[in-house]
Symmetry: C2
Subunit: 190 residues, 2 copies
């Protein structure tokens, strides 16, 4: 099984959106460069060199129902990878994009396991926030990838969601400074 990477863009104080789910300046770097990387994003050369291989390696995304509802599941086309596992107590909406390889699982641990089966030796991406935080607390996350944007949010939705105890990480093995974003990636210490 490939590694499980928790990921999101994040403010310097650890928020992935404000209380109303607005991302504001957090997504500026997705549009401030010349290199098209898909999903409508044009980023700097530096960011592209980091993001493109990461996206290419992603086989499956694990997301929460909240993100699914916000995006309507990207209309059945995941921004990266071929499969999506949605952590939700509610089933797949009736009639929603029957062709899409989306799975609805009511438990984070089983969702990550399902994603691992689907991914084979490719990477499982877990959305930071409530789902990612639960997965980290359960010991299911191998790496933490933070695209840190130079803005203080003050309040909002937390990158680490409901995590409420300490978890050691290794020193970052990726430190890449883009334009309005600092890409950091840490292995979780076992």
């Amino acid at each position: 099984m490939g590694s499980v990477v928790m990921h999101n863009v994040v403010s310097v104080d650890g928020f992935i959106a404000d209380a109303d789910d607005e991302v504001g300046p957090l997504f500026e770097w997705y549009g401030n460069g010349d290199v098209e990387i898909g999903a409508g994003c044009t980023v700097s050369k530096t960011s592209a060199a980091y993001v493109q291989p990461m996206w290419a390696d992603l086989g499956v995304l694990v997301i929460g129902r909240h993100l699914f509802d916000l995006t309507n599941g990207w209309e059945g086309s995941p921004p990266a990878g071929e499969h999506v596992v949605v952590v939700s107590h509610r089933p797949r909406p009736e009639g929603w994009h029957p062709e899409a390889s989306y799975f609805f699982v009511d438990d984070v641990a089983r969702a990550v396991a399902k994603a691992g089966e689907l991914a084979g030796d490719r990477t499982v991406g877990v959305a930071a926030g409530d789902v990612g935080g639960q997965a980290l607390a359960l010991g299911l996350v191998d790496e933490v990838a933070m695209d840190v944007v130079p803005v203080v949010f003050g309040s909002g939705k937390r990158y680490f969601g409901p995590v409420d105890s300490q978890h050691l990480l290794e020193d970052p093995h990726v430190v890449v400074q883009g334009d309005r974003v600092l890409h950091l990636r840490y292995k979780v210490r076992r």
Copy 2:
């Protein structure tokens, strides 16, 4: 007047201590190297090269009463700089180190102004947390210095304290990877 730099060691999720003021792994890098930099700290060569000139340039520290009480004001010897301004509604403790150049001011804005007078063209360091967060919200902070330690805290005392609105920073002009710490420094966008 020199610049006003908000500073502290911080977890990847933005905490400077747990709810009981324990810093745990946040201070490990202060003792894991070979270079003595004063205040009982021995850090890696990489961290020393960053920290030493910063400390040397600090003229005055602005701290909260909580930190003063926790450390008993470092017994009158500030860890950096020659003067300390304590933000507090309570006066200087009677008989406490009469020789020490410590000033007690009951308002953050006036404390930073007092520190600026004392500092001349040297740097004013403002402790992150409640005092630093208030100073940032008031527009009194020029730079934000974060020594980011690879640990998730989950909860505790926030680096940005009571800040509850968005503040843009510039891209970091310092990105230095030490051993169990990533030194970042951002100018506040005006």
